[in-house]
């Protein structure tokens, strides 16, 4: 079976869960295996409801001690459950949670782990995994050495098409947490709190990112970018130079030592396009570059490039977009 680990928030499944299901289909259909989704938590029903039509079987692994994510409890519960299942591949989201948990599951389940996966396929019955290396400078294809042995595949956000609804609901199934497996006093890690960061919505999930670099010139300059982002229902990102200058928090940094993003639309404003920045954004579906230097390397990776001063262009662009009252994109 092909397994997909779901990730949900209060609004239901995250986009990456739908992408992971889309990725899973690329293996399940040619291998003629069932696509099984697994939801972990203390009350997964709300999230499961939205996903029934996208998988062949939907498992809920529930326990009060799984209410808040800790890698320790999730790893114990998932390893005990999946250890008793046939697993040809387990697809995990390339989010902070998935990346935290994946290596632990790899050891617990005795399965190899592949990160930053951007493509999946089946060739002569073998699973082929395409993944990024060196910040996207190279693409490597690998296959499990043991042939049919299981593999954990962490996918890059934005790299796969979201799964489509099938005609019928999948089967609902319960995954029992082994009695006595999780004991509060035995858990070594405890979550004490969560502080939301002011930097707009989460970059990884954003459909539109308006990113600024040194060319934005100041923290106030970023207000202009925020205006454009708000109009498009997106969020604001930054190059390292802009973060180092103190104009934006590090959470907004895109690139090798920041976030790797793959939104539908990436608008790079006053960013030169250093390899370390490109490492984080070339997976975007559409790339717009605005730069006053016609020789800036960012133009090489752009679908459309505007040579000009961003401080002049962006206000004009906002006016143009307002004219047609572009509806903000629903997330």
């Amino acid at each position: 079976m092909i397994w997909v680990l779901a990730e949900c928030d209060n609004n239901g499944p995250k986009a990456i869960t739908l992408e992971a299901l889309g990725a899973g289909r690329l293996l399940a259909d040619p291998l003629n295996l069932k696509l099984c989704l697994i939801l972990v938590g203390s009350n997964t029903s709300a999230c499961a409801k939205n996903l029934m039509r996208k998988a062949d079987r939907v498992y809920s692994l529930e326990d009060p001690l799984l209410f808040t994510y800790t890698n320790e409890a999730y790893n114990a519960a998932l390893a005990a459950f999946l250890g008793r299942q046939e697993v040809r591949a387990l697809i995990t989201p390339g989010t902070s949670t998935g990346r935290d948990l994946g290596p632990l599951l790899s050891v617990s389940l005795g399965m190899p782990y592949s990160q930053n996966t951007v493509g999946l396929g089946v060739s002569e019955g073998a699973v082929h995994i395409r993944r990024r290396l060196y910040g996207g400078k190279l693409i490597e294809t690998v296959t499990p050495a043991t042939g049919k042995g299981g593999v954990i595949i962490s996918i890059m956000p934005g790299a796969f098409e979201e799964a489509k609804d099938r005609g019928t609901d999948g089967e609902a199934a319960r995954a029992e947490v082994v009695e006595g497996l999780l004991r509060e006093e035995a858990l070594r890690i405890r979550v004490k709190g969560f502080a939301r960061e002011a930097a707009g919505m989460d970059l990884i999930e954003a459909r539109v990112i308006v990113a600024g670099g040194r060319g934005v010139g100041s923290a106030e300059g970023f207000r202009l970018l925020e205006g454009l982002a708000a109009l498009l229902g997106g969020t604001v990102g930054a190059s390292r130079s802009a973060v180092d200058a103190g104009w934006m928090p590090h959470a907004a940094q895109v690139g090798q030592t920041g976030k790797t993003v793959a939104p539908r639309l990436y608008i790079a404003c006053g960013i030169s396009g250093a390899p370390q920045h490109l490492a984080g954004m070339t997976g975007a579906r559409h790339i717009v570059a605005i730069n006053k230097d016609p020789g800036a390397p960012i133009f090489k990776v752009a679908d459309i490039g505007i040579v000009g001063d961003l401080h002049t262009l962006i206000p004009m662009l906002i006016e143009e977009l307002k004219k047609t009252k572009a509806t903000p994109i629903a997330r």
């Binding site: 320790e72 070594r188 070339t282 752009a302």
Partner: protein
């Protein structure tokens, strides 16, 4: 405290291929930036709580320079698992080797980088925690140790999560944890003279067969990053109109 470190190609470098392998001879190597945060954090902890900082690396060759950088920053000791059999071994095998080496030391804390900038796998820290059966707290941006416990901030989507766990533990360092120091000149001079402790697989009781890469490479290729983009360099008002049109279609 043990800090696991490795060398990576400078992120600004061109990565070239030759016959399905990365051509390594021409690359410039640096200490993995995330590992540098790890070394710095260990040194800060030592200044506050005392103790000893050991830098550890495992590879077939070329690890000395990486270890000397950590020594020059102020690490007390350098351990190098050097073995020709490690050539081409991926994170799965390296984590096993590091776990064996660490399990022979008396430690309170293992610090790794969140990921390396070459494979970007972020595998070794987590796998090490599982193999050593220690708690894992990954991608930390703040750390405070009190007694046998610690509190750390982790970077997660949309915010910062604060967790508390017991020692010994494995931590992985995220950017923002600290500002790594530059090695001082006396530090560099001292590091040159310091002895590196060598280990090999036999001395750790690890056989080659335990290290086989579980994922085989089928191919390696350059991605097609470049796009045949349109350039608008004329009247800025016209550019804005055309760009608005493009954006409307794109979203």
């Amino acid at each position: 405290m043990v800090v696991c470190i490795k060398r990576v190609p400078d992120t600004g470098a061109r990565v070239e291929m030759d016959g399905g392998r990365v051509r390594e001879e021409r690359l410039e190597w640096v200490l993995n930036p995330y590992d540098e945060f790890g070394v710095e954090e260990a040194l800060l902890l030592k200044a506050e709580h005392g103790g000893k900082v050991t830098a550890l690396t495992a590879r077939a060759s070329g690890g000395e320079e990486t270890l000397r950088k950590a020594l020059a920053m102020g690490a007390d000791e350098a351990v190098y698992v050097k073995d020709a059999l490690l050539d081409g071994i991926d994170g799965h095998g390296i984590a096993r080797v590091l776990a064996k080496a660490v399990s022979r030391m008396r430690i309170d804390l293992v610090i790794c980088g969140k990921q390396s900038t070459d494979s970007e796998a972020g595998y070794v820290g987590g796998a090490l925690a599982a193999l050593l059966d220690m708690p894992l707290v990954s991608a930390i941006k703040r750390l405070r140790i009190t007694g046998g416990r610690f509190e750390a901030d982790r970077e997660v989507e949309g915010g910062v999560e604060t967790v508390e766990a017991s020692l010994p533990a494995v931590l992985t360092a995220q950017k923002g944890l600290n500002e790594p120091r530059y090695p001082s000149l006396p530090g560099i001079m001292r590091a040159k003279r310091q002895e590196i402790k060598y280990l090999d697989l036999a001395s750790l009781g690890i056989g080659r067969e335990e290290l086989e890469n579980p994922l085989k490479r089928v191919s390696l290729a350059y991605p097609s990053m470049e796009r045949k983009g349109r350039m608008l360099a004329g009247d800025i008002g016209e550019s804005a109109k055309e760009l608005a049109e493009f954006i409307r279609h794109a979203v």
